[in-house]
């Protein structure tokens, strides 16, 4: 058919729908989805943030503003010497790169899967500490302009759980952080290499299969030489 083969392709698509009926129906989000942040607390309710400003320093969009202060001796906010006195994230600037999460020494800031927050003014766009901090049950606080769907606030630190704090593959699957309010110490998620080791046939068509054949070809080439 040559130049008319396109007609068969278009008519062949009839009945195959790949889009979902958003917002009634939604796709499963990836495990390491970068949504809006939360500030976590320890099991005893203490805040994890120590006001070190590493997140603000690493932020490429300069959207985080942190000011630390000494903990009051009679009523400490965090277990350490200092705590995050002011913590603001400007979501008009945030690019959700997750560098703040990687930089945080205490896993105080992590990202949720929540992404539907269509604020209509600047004040709502800048999330303050009150809005970012998890509630007494360890859940993200729902803001009036946010659209929530069940379960999306559960996994607040997926990236952290998937890899070791150092980011080295040797530590994959090992948990090295303290418990979180409402969740305790959760199991580590499997990293990419660990998952492939355990379930090698997850997706036979993925790039890994092609990589193998490529290696195979290289081997043949060596033998020929």
């Amino acid at each position: 058919m040559g130049r008319f083969s396109g007609f068969r392709i278009t008519i062949g698509q009839v009945g195959k729908v790949v889009t979902t009926n958003y917002p009634e129906e939604k796709r499963e989000k990836p495990t390491r989805f970068h949504g809006r942040h939360v500030l976590n607390r320890y099991e005893d309710g203490m805040e994890k943030c120590i006001g070190c400003e590493l997140c603000a320093g690493v932020c490429p969009a300069r959207c985080i503003y942190v000011r630390g202060a000494d903990n009051p001796i009679d009523d400490p906010v965090s277990p350490g010497e200092r705590f995050g006195f002011v913590y603001e994230i400007n979501y008009l600037r945030c690019i959700h790169c997750d560098l703040c999460v990687e930089a945080c020494p205490t896993e105080a800031i992590t990202e949720t899967k929540l992404f539907e927050f269509s604020f209509t003014n600047r004040a709502d766009a800048i999330y303050t500490k009150d809005e970012l901090l998890v509630d007494d049950a360890g859940r993200a606080r729902r803001q009036p302009w946010e659209l929530w769907h069940g379960g999306e606030d559960d996994e607040t630190s997926a990236w952290m759980r998937a890899t070791a704090p150092s980011g080295q593959a040797a530590f994959e699957g090992k948990v090295s952080w303290s418990g979180e309010l409402g969740f305790g110490v959760r199991d580590a998620e499997l990293g990419q290499t660990a998952r492939e080791r355990l379930e090698p046939e997850v997706d036979p068509a993925d790039h890994r299969g092609r990589g193998h054949s490529h290696d195979h070809d290289m081997g043949h080439g060596d033998e020929a030489h």
């Binding site: 396109g6 007609f7 392709i9 278009t10 008519i11 698509q13 009839v14 729908v17 889009t19 009926n21």
Partner: protein, 399 residues
């Protein structure tokens, strides 16, 4: 007489006859508006289907009222016009586009002959003697709407769009007219009612023996291609090529005036499909329900309209299919297709058909006339082909 051979006027004109004509006019007007509304929805749904999407689904059941919602929105939008525009022409142009679009549909036979209040009449607004020429006249006038809209906008892109439109519509009107000639040599009449009556249903074989698509298959194909080009539908939508011309001739139009252009364009698609059905696919002819008597209202009123609608829908689906499949032509490709191929082929097809029809009428030996016609057509084609400049050949400049 413009209203033609409708038996409605055989007994003179009285109040009832005038009333019937007025009612028919209003009904055709309403049908066309509603049809456009649903065609736009249908087109968006079918294209979405072919692009793995869902399509409009919010307004009304399955999103069927999406076009109505868009129309209401456009109706209440502000009208703006550029300071450099020519106001009277700028305001006139949309109406020059939509009125011919309405009028062109008047000659389409939607159903058969019915009896209303003792008067026999056709389910068609008018059956003028000039018949199919009316369509060409109206699409010629519709061209003025597009051309003047671009010209009066006082802006560059609309002007370019309207220049493209004039050239494209003129070129393809020639091919369209010649394709119509290719079927008119078979019908021997311009009247749409006569053409439809000649294609009346006489059993399942009528599809091949009565309908004109098979004897005029070349004209049919050329008609379909030129009709898509004539209505500025993709892949011939260079008039409003977004990437090059913003919106083309209607770039400066807003609100209801833009909506009128939009309506006119899709109305033309429906009219062209309806005319293709009339000329080539038997119009309202189709099997009646055998278990009912031939006089029952279902067989008189409903079934012809049903078959007509079904055929138009098939052609509209094909139009949308083409729209979803083919990328837009380059302008030189468009002109080459029109002038180098379609016009010649339609012309030669009309010539060969004429020889075949006259030969059959005079009782000539068809084993001599048909090859002779084909050889003659081949000679003409060769001469024409020799006149077309080859790529790289210097073209004499016209001063």
């Amino acid at each position: 007489m413009i209203l033609g051979a409708d038996p409605l006027f055989s007994d003179g004109i009285d109040t009832t006859v005038v009333l019937i004509v007025i009612v028919k006019t209003i009904v055709v007007f309403a049908i066309l508006l509603v049809a456009v509304m649903f065609y736009v929805w249908f087109m968006r749904k079918v294209i979405a289907d072919m692009q793995n999407r869902i399509g409009p689904q919010r307004a009304g059941p399955f999103g069927a009222f999406q076009t109505l919602a868009d129309g209401i929105k456009l109706f209440f939008k502000e009208q703006s016009s550029p300071t450099s525009a020519d106001p009277p022409v700028f305001k006139l142009a949309p109406y020059l586009a939509i009125i011919p679009a309405f009028l062109a549909f008047a000659i389409v036979p939607i159903g058969g002959q019915v009896t209303v209040a003792g008067h026999r009449t056709y389910l068609q607004l008018a059956d003028p003697g000039i018949g199919v020429l009316w369509l060409l006249m109206m699409s010629g006038i519709g061209l003025y709407g597009v051309m003047l809209a671009g010209w009066s906008s006082g802006s560059k892109y609309p002007l370019l769009g309207s220049v493209r439109a004039s050239a494209q519509l003129l070129s393809y009107e020639a091919a369209l007219g010649l394709a119509i000639v290719g079927v008119l040599v078979h019908t021997g009449s311009l009247s749409t009612r006569t053409i439809v009556n000649q294609q009346a249903w006489e059993g399942a074989g009528s599809v091949f023996s009565q309908w004109y698509w098979l004897p005029a298959i070349g004209a049919f194909i050329i008609f379909l291609i030129s009709a898509i080009a004539e209505t500025n539908h993709p892949p011939f939508d260079l008039v409003e090529a977004e990437q090059e011309l913003v919106g083309g001739f209607h770039t400066e139009y807003t609100g209801i005036r833009f909506a009128i252009f939009f309506l006119a364009e899709f109305m033309n698609v429906i009219t062209m499909s309806a005319i293709a059905v009339t000329l080539f696919l038997g119009g309202p002819s189709g099997p009646a329900l055998g278990f009912l008597s031939a006089d029952s209202w279902v067989n008189v009123w409903v079934m012809p309209v049903f078959w007509f609608t079904l055929k138009v829908l098939v052609l509209l689906y094909a139009t949308v299919w083409v729209r979803a499949t083919l990328p837009r032509l380059r302008y030189d490709q468009l002109m080459a297709l029109g002038w180098k191929y379609l016009i010649e082929l339609a012309f030669l097809w009309a010539m060969i058909s004429a020889v075949v029809v006259v030969g059959a009428d005079q009782g000539w030996n068809r084993w001599i006339t048909v090859p002779a016609a084909i050889v003659g057509a081949g000679v003409v084609l060769a001469v024409l082909w020799a006149c077309i400049p080859r790529r790289g050949e210097p073209v004499e400049e016209i001063r």
